[in-house]
Point group: C3
Chain length 146, copies 3
């Protein structure tokens, strides 16, 4: 089949303000673990900098890291929460914008620092997808059978 | 009035993993038809390539197609599901990012191929908006009277 | 603490079609005030132009405005609704795309004009966050104590 679709019941919503100078990805990961959100959808806007953005190289099977100095608008953060290594895990992609409105984006990596941030978690209820190592891609993908 | 707003009750949520090498837009359209989701909101992240992105030219009343070779991060997919020609129909916009974090974006067209993809559908309940041909723009717009 | 998280119960969803030539931000702000949505999450896609995009300069404590002439795909609008000066207030960031798929983005400012627009508001229920002037940043931030 071309896809696997899994139904979840909606839970609560969470609005989140992050502290200036915190690491965006680490803080989101700590937060979902502490609050116990194992499956959900994340979105958010704010300001960030410096920023580390990843691009997955399917040949080398590793992320190439692009580093951006300075402060940027966090134009969009979009991602999801599932379980990896028995812990809640946030997988997020971001778009950032500079002073002229030029934008950059990719996979959110550690080392991206929050200036101000307003985030939303759409909490879902059901058996959380687990991320399992996939030999073909080298990525940890959801255990939703295709 | 400057807007038309229509209320829906929240339904379930669906998490979706798409098969590598499937056509992103066609697969989403097949999926919502098969599962019977007539109104909802879609978001997602992943990797895609090659990619076809559209820009709507209001003078020519047609999409200009931009083709991107290679593999890109799917930085964001944002869209909605409503009814067109008596079938569920996905209208999506995407942002893609290259190996240096440079980004491109616009209207998702057929011919955009999934490498890996994690999507969320926020299913809504209520009378689905229908897309009706609008002579002024040449687009199929929601039949929510303005 | 590195973050403050606040729980909300999900309300209804609203799908919105905006009238051509209306001001995107002003119309969204009028709409949430008229309908009485004090807390929620907004997303949307469409076409816009001309466009005013802001970049917040933390040194000058003001937005730098970038103006874009012509018509663009509204590739993504992502934002939230909370309360500022006792009124519902929309804070949105946008990505726009030109005829070649090149993209720009940042904080949505007045003067951004809708050509066609399809938006979704995820209405939340609970005590709305209020925006309070923050001396350190010069911004009006949520009164969620850190």
């Amino acid at each position: 089949m071309e896809h696997r679709i899994e139904r979840f019941v909606k839970g609560d919503s969470q609005l989140i303000r992050l502290k200036p100078e915190s690491d965006l990805l680490e803080t989101l990961n700590n937060l979902v673990e502490r609050v116990g959100i194992e499956v959900g959808v994340i979105s958010g806007i704010g300001s960030v900098g410096p920023v580390n953005i990843g691009y997955y190289d399917f040949n080398k099977k590793e992320y190439r890291k692009n580093h951006f100095k300075g402060i940027y608008e966090l134009v969009s953060l979009m991602g999801n929460i599932s379980v990896k290594d028995n812990k809640p895990f946030c997988h997020c992609h971001i778009v950032i914008g500079d002073k002229d409105g030029k934008v950059y984006g990719g996979h959110l990596l550690p080392g991206t620092i929050v200036k101000v941030g307003e985030f939303h978690i759409d909490v879902l209820k059901g058996t959380p997808p687990e991320r399992i190592f996939d030999v073909t891609t080298g990525l940890h993908l959801w255990n939703l059978k295709l």
